[in-house]
Amino acid sequence: MSDAPTPPAPPPATPSPPPVAPPPQPAQPAQPLLLRLISPLIVPVLAVITALAIGAVIIWLTGKDPIAAFSGLWAGSFGSPRAIERTIIRSTPFIIAGLAVALGFKAGLFNIGAEGQLYAGSVMAVLVGFSFTGLSPLIHIPLAIAAGALGGALWGGIPGVLKARTGAHEVITTIMLNFIAIRMTDWLIKSRNPTLLGDPLDSSGSRSFFVEESARLPTLFGTNLHAGILMAIGLVFFVQWLLYRTTIGFELRTVGVNPSASRYAGMSVPRNIILAMALSGMLAGLAGTGEVLGVEGALKTEFFSGLGFDAIAVALLARSNPLAIIPAGLLWGGLLTGAQLMQVRAELPIDLIKIVQALIIMFVAADQIVRWMYRIPKDTGGGQSVFSSGWGGK
């Protein structure tokens, strides 16, 4: 459209020298700051509300009491200090893994492989966690965390290299690498001849050795909270800084939105793809590491059971904005934590929360529905375009 309705520019007074100040333009009044901050939140918040409302209707249709259900949900998630504590613990891996997926989206990549990267990182962290004995926690914890980060980065880096060198789509390769990572972890833990990671003392044969006490993340302020949440918050701010304040982030984002222009600008597209996938994998690996060192002290088969996929949901809900990952992750963890009390109080299956979560993501991904329902004008820009271009873009 050559004739887009842009405001006609007034002719310059003199062709040369150019006017000192560009003439003021009436169009595009600057949005008030408050509105600018709130407007990206509108759709996700309404998506959550709508999904909960539909959930209430479903509860009512099954003959149960929606009010009892939601009061249980609230009490079990944010209703008491104890509940909040459990919600935060539950949310920590969602925040870190969601951040992993969001960073991928920002670089135009759809990392479905967080699940596999969680296992890859955890295996490394556990290995370092129980292999070294007699180390000071000051050395052992950072060492185990670094091992977890490295494991995730390597596992995430593989699809990066495959895409950069051969053009293989990361969606396909990361899914395949998920299977490999999950099954390989199974084998590492279950193998008895030779015994690899599996603890012979565990009767079910599905648990690894416990890590040394010196590798366990410390708890905070006498609560059950572990240092993983601090790591999560630190990583959120680190990623935000990396993406928006550094040249590295500038390259990642540029390759994500316009690979062609980034090549023209002298950036290396393959290098940035590999870097983005490795960083994303590293974050996922850290999410797994936090669970292993902070909560369980060991790795189990099927330990993460879909956490890496929920991470995609969290990233979508946060529209790939690193800072928004924190509330999105807390919401996700809160719904799952509260679901248990909801189950007791309203005699509802816990799966109802899965339905609500699915509805939230559906409304966020298909934001047109929410916009239509609440008559919200079209978005002026946002992370979601990155999501779609990462998928079928090329």
Partner: protein, 541 residues
Amino acid sequence: MPSSNGAHRPIVLEARGITKRFPGVIANNNVSLRLHKGENLALLGENGAGKSTLMNILYGLYQQDEGEILVSGQPVRVDTPHEAIALGIGMVHQHFQLVPVMTVTENIMLGAEVLRGPFLDRRRAEQQIREISRQHGLDVEPHALVADLPVGAQQRVEIIKALYRNADILILDEPTAVLTPQEADDLFKVMRSLTDQGTSIIFITHKLREVLTYADRIVVLRAGKVVGETTPAEASEASLAAMMVGRDVILQVDKQPPHPREVVLKISDLRVYDDRQILAVDGVDLEVRAGETLGVAGVQGNGQTELVAAIAGLRPLATGSIEVLGQQIGGNPPRTITELGVAHVPEDRQRDGIVKVYPLTDNSVLETYYQPPFAQWIVRQEQAVTRYAEQLVRDFDVRTPSVHVNASALSGGNQQKLIIAREFTRPIKLLIAAQPTRGVDVGSIEFIHKQIVRKRDEGCAVLLVSAELDEILALSDRIAVMYHGKIIAVLEAGTATREQIGLLMAGGQHPPLSDSAAATIPAAPFEPLPAPIEQGVSTHE
């Protein structure tokens, strides 16, 4: 060529007092327009003047806020394109609405399928298509896949699509924007044949030459209003340009004789493959000296794109070498080449030149974001970037409310001015400008041309690649003509004529030049200047 202004013929389409508002803009302000039967009406105006808006209203894509539309004297409502088609109004958009993986016949039938029982009657549709095709000289192969057709042929498919739906009023939005000069000539022949047989045409353009040559009547739009109506007989390029822009425009580029110095760019025996692994650049030798502009003329698709991409490091060389100031750059990554002082104004600015979702600030340091003062170590320095962007916007008259708005908010001309500003403000020794004014309004063209001449006068070597012959003639000191991947002639701009170059662009031989003399520039020492270049002085026309 225009035979009559058609005033005595019946009016087939009339717009009365059309007003259309968009948030913050009045795109059409009380616009009235009349189209007579068999008339070829040109709607002329700069980008953003409201031409497309008006046409989209007539075609039912937008609804006017005020005013009415009359077809054959009857007031009508046109709320959808469907209703427009029923009224006999057809439109060919600037960006074609074709399905590439379907055949010509399938595309034309789409939405107006001929059925035999539950099945498509392809044969009958094909007959009709051949009929229309023969009647108007619209040469297409019904079985061909649209994806395989050149742009000109795709446009013919679009026109047949409209005629197939019995359109007798045809709206063409910037029909020649994507065509080679030859294809444009063919199109105007088709348009003449259509008007001779009673079809009425409105065509949108901002090219003055084709308006003066082919239109029966000209309506000029500026800032949403009709500012003039004239005929080719009464108008001149200067008068039309002044009407469009609202002030006198200097169409001739005022430039001094060149002072060529040392060779900056030296290309020897260059061969480059295109995406389909076909040899697109086939043994090119070229030299560009500091302080001169070498224009590469040629119909699009003769290897210019690949030539530029190879110099900029965006495409590997098959053979040959590219040197900048004696340093081999062939095969180096773009960053190395940029850092050597090579600037590149890319031909596809939306794809390569800017990141539309980035603010002007980020776009103004797209290649230099990692250098001080824009970054310290890996930390970006926002204030330095903002100051720099503000300087570019000021120095190059980029019209924008702020440097923090996204580049997508700017018009094409202003986006291009930003790219020019970014590339020209760096310390550069070689400037590669590919289609620097494509899709840019007249006022911006004038400005960009001046900047290119200024850069040459500052001692920069300029390689200009353009499909616009006027641009080549106006700016170049020497002109290389590219045809089928080869440089088939290098002419002195002072002596070359439009006809001569046009003939060469079409692959015609140039009698006075032997092959070898044509393909290479005489190698001369830096001082004294080689004789032929000293002659290359005056601007053509």
